[in-house]
Symmetry: C2
Subunit: 421 residues, 2 copies
Amino acid sequence: MDAHKQLTIGLFGFGVVGEGLYKVMHQTPSLNASIKRICIKHPGKKRNAPEELFTTDKDELLNDPEINVIVEVIDDSEAAFQIVSKAIRNGKAVVSASKKMLAEHLAEVLEMQQTTGEPFLYEAAACASIPVIRNLEEYYDNDLLHSMKAIVNGSTNFILTKMFEDKLDFKQALILAQQLGFAESNPKLDVEGYDAVNKWTLLLAHAYGILDNPNNIVFTGIHNIQAGDAVVAKEKNYHIKLVAQAQKLLNGKVAAFVLPQFVKNDDHLAFVRNEYNGVVIESGFADKQFFYGKGAGSFPTASAVLSDISALRYQYRYEYKKLYHHHPHELTHDFFVKVYISFDDLKYVPKESFEWVEEWHAMEERKYLVGVLPFRELAEKTWWRENNNSLILSPEPVIEDIEIRKLKKKSLELAGLFDWN
Amino acid sequence: MDAHKQLTIGLFGFGVVGEGLYKVMHQTPSLNASIKRICIKHPGKKRNAPEELFTTDKDELLNDPEINVIVEVIDDSEAAFQIVSKAIRNGKAVVSASKKMLAEHLAEVLEMQQTTGEPFLYEAAACASIPVIRNLEEYYDNDLLHSMKAIVNGSTNFILTKMFEDKLDFKQALILAQQLGFAESNPKLDVEGYDAVNKWTLLLAHAYGILDNPNNIVFTGIHNIQAGDAVVAKEKNYHIKLVAQAQKLLNGKVAAFVLPQFVKNDDHLAFVRNEYNGVVIESGFADKQFFYGKGAGSFPTASAVLSDISALRYQYRYEYKKLYHHHPHELTHDFFVKVYISFDDLKYVPKESFEWVEEWHAMEERKYLVGVLPFRELAEKTWWRENNNSLILSPEPVIEDIEIRKLKKKSLELAGLFDWN
């Protein structure tokens, strides 16, 4: 594509994001881009755009030689993959917002893209308006990136904020989120952490060159969190957030997960309330950087798509430097985490799995303990998210393999003749 | 420069930033870059690098055909301009951290650079470790950028934080900042706002395509702020920050200034404490984005320089899209600002200049008022920063020309027979 070339766009999807994009583009004439055709699934609906733009035949877009950019903002991840695949094969630049499709198919897409070389951009797929992929690609492109932690799902963060600040219970908060348009009518994807782990999979590729399937990343959502957990958090002056985290260990491998976590009041992520997203990047010498903005919604997502379209004018493409030019990092499960776990009945908590236990509280109904687990326990077992158990990571949860002996010794000395029954 | 070419660097300056960079580069072998020679001003000092690297002859670097990158991190802005000019003419890529030099000479530097085309990067010159220039260049490159406000000077922010939170007076806070290395021994540049306006000049070029001299931007520092102002701020639940602000007006022109400002508790900038920097970017559809990180210091600055060096491997260069590819914006003084001003004696405050006055308080020693001024009054007169007057902008200070009549009418109705003596 030549510099500043006219971009002729074929758009798939005219839901909230697609329509938002259509509006945004009309207010950005300098973009030198126009939407030639829009492919939709259900014809006959009343839509705020000229009728002649719409078609239900995807090949009218994919096979049109005049269309040089395919923008895909549909909900169905398998259909999105088919569209993107054919667009790439047909030599078109592609902009996508489908995090699920990308998380599941990134390796395949990259392989296809290698053969054609056309740009494939998807900033909108992670944290919407926050340019986190672009910054990981361009600015944190060396090997100094130590850790990254983030709130990447606005729906769950909204629910947690309402549970904490307005004392709503989980169900009330969810209903409010749905009423305000921050949660889908089927909230499983958000609430059980699927959406967050999909985004995290993408960010791991750009941050560390890790191309892995979301299924290999340990995650859960906020659906097990209990009112009693919020009480404990308050007592300790913590917030509860669904935190996506990745951290380079001393052995060069990367610990990564998406789990509920206690966040201290002065943590950057405590600043992230309601439907917002935030990303904290810690690099070797710059210390902590914090990026904050709207992580979802029609216009924030459309604006990220727009920035990608804008970048196409200048032949911008992701370089995947960590993947192709550096030695890519590997995920590991060989480390330890300090966890809080509350439960109805101790019989559902395997005490023998803990390295040590630091706290033990019996409340009226719920009991909880704070202790240290090998991370493999979370990767390989399911007890921690079953039988009404609620697991929340401590602040700074990661303990390196080589530190565990020393810390265990110290902890057991402190505990003395601790009897945890 | 070919892709992934070996970068051979000539470094000017081995102060805190230069030495920091030297250390950082030793820990980033993947960078494929090496420092061949370091030019210093004062030979014979003990330095933490092999002696044979050093020279006092700048031509040994500038005329060395093997050196393809000049990195300049010296204090003397005129010397820096000479070095950068010659480096550009000699066809070398340049990385600079000299905000004062850049703010004063950007137009000339760009003209020179146009003739050679080699990259010239300077992310470290504004907000150090926060990649704000890069994001304005790459991500906010369309015409949707509405406003931008920021804390760009860490020293003054540290002093204000200490005045507010630890109840130090200005002098004590300044001494503490100096002891901790956050303020120069000659603090005038920071405290009187020169450093901030230099950075703001640079960011205006990348945000709006405005190439103007820092002298044309209305600014002051924090040296006039009084203990009484902090008391008022507390009462109103405000912080006082030195805020650099730019805002696109309805007429398409840009209002820009660097002035003390009252900041509400829930404003993003209230989160920015001590020596940190923060930038809030508001664009048409993405709403507010917030970038936060260390804005000064040896390693954060060195890490920004390092990211620029890293970008050179991929031929990255600023496009100045707002300047060259869009219709660049213009600065204007034709708008109004709502200000708080405290004073020892009313005779030093020209009442006739105010459109209207909304508040009037006489305390034991200091008096203050809150009112609306044409911005031209600040641009063309000096009374507001003389005779112990202290001017602090209200939150959301900008009032558009076309709104002023309506607001004035309303305000005068509310005030009734207000007599402000």
